[in-house]
Symmetry: C2
DNA sequence: TTCATAGTTCGATCCTAGTCGAAGCATCTA
DNA sequence: TAGATGCTTCGACTAGGATCGAACTATGAA
């Protein structure tokens, strides 16, 4: 035993209801304060503080002080990915008692995965860009083709800035509801930001659901599919 | 809160030391009896039995009775993948106290990931087959090219049998030590089986380490790289 | 300065869940 | 049949950790 990395440390961190609620809330991508997370998790501020300190020590969170507020976000894209991975397992091995409610259906359609678009719409987006030759794929490290660069620049994405960044431009992220990949990485994030700026999508404040406006859905279809 | 699948159920299952040891042991790919797993986890048979029943109810294991023995294996490739995902997180966010021992180094070099080859050697294998045009990649669903089919058949893999199976032929699996993908799926498994049959590799009985013989390492190099 | 708000620390309580001994089934061997 | 082995169930014990009230610190507002 005791081979490889210490998996227990992380799994037990995620395995507490309050902490799981905190992490799930942060999957929305927005940084949240300790008080907000306490409310989200359904515990008092004291207990939340204790949990947050543990998650932070465990390397799952990135805290930032701002005045008398303390904002928390996920430490890293890889944290979000691991969480989605667990959700995938939970969804498939889940007992039937988790009946699929209407809210759940909305989540499957379109939701935010940390900072990019996930769900059916997110999967469509990636597969369309691949089949149109904009993205060339080999594993997690997808790459943007020349045609793709022209396309996204034309769509209003500031490519040079993204490329100057160290983090990978295109990455895959496994979608727990669709069981296929959607587009992550800084491009995935930039596209999603652009959707919001154009008014195509609107993020639900409390859940991770992404609402497409009627126009937004149409334009999304025309532009990408 | 309470959105999406019940992540806590699974994370708390993995988050217990004894259970994590059991799962890690099963990552070796071999089905093991309850007694063997008890020894592996360092607990008595009674406690192991309790843990095994929980893991089974949680959908993470596949038990098989055989006479008075009860063999357990991981329920699914996806379970192994999720575990590797957690290991990836643990490895990067791990505190420095997990010093990299010699055994750890061997694990990074080559190990068995459920039923296929992982570690540096596994990553080399996939990337070589991709660059030689044997595997064509788009996400988790990689595909074997015509040239690739000829190549692996020539190497001694019984392709028709594999293809008649429902499970995917080529899949990616993220490697926690290399942070790149290696080859999973039924082909990954078949290749690894072939390595063992040819005497290139030998599996350590107790750990997940894969030892290459001197000849094996040379032939592996010549054949694939 | 004083007051209010955000967050942390401490201490006490309480409860879950892991653990193992002992007894009970089930299956194989002789 | 009797005996041995593999596993499960039951019951009791215990430790660890989640929880919250109360007190404390830090920042901002008046």
């Amino acid at each position: 035993m005791k081979e490889g990395p210490d998996i227990v440390r992380i799994a037990s961190l995620i395995g507490d209801p309050a902490r799981a609620n905190i992490l799930t809330a942060l999957m929305g991508g927005k940084a949240l304060t300790a008080s907000e997370l306490a409310a989200e998790a359904g515990v008092t501020l004291q207990t939340a503080s204790s949990h947050l300190s543990k998650l932070d020590k465990g390397g799952l969170l990135r805290p930032r002080k701002q005045g008398r507020h303390k904002y928390f976000s996920l430490a890293d894209d890889s944290v979000a990915e691991a969480l989605e991975g667990l959700m995938g397992l939970a969804a498939r091995s889940g007992h039937l008692r988790t009946r699929t409610g209407p809210k759940d259906e909305a989540l499957r359609q379109a939701r935010v995965c940390y900072n990019h678009l996930a769900g059916a719409k997110g999967v469509q987006l990636l597969s369309a860009m691949q089949s149109r030759g904009f993205i060339d794929g080999e594993g997690e490290t997808l790459s943007l083709t020349d045609a793709g660069e022209a396309f996204v620049s034309d769509f209003g994405v500031d490519l040079p800035t993204l490329q100057s960044n160290r983090s990978p431009l295109c990455r895959e992220c496994l979608d727990w509801s669709e069981r296929r990949s959607h587009l992550a990485g800084s491009l995935g994030r930039a596209l999603f930001t652009r959707f919001e700026a154009l008014g195509w999508t609107r993020c639900d404040r409390n859940t991770r659901v992404v609402h497409f406006s009627a126009d937004g859905a149409r334009e999304f279809q025309e532009t990408f599919l």
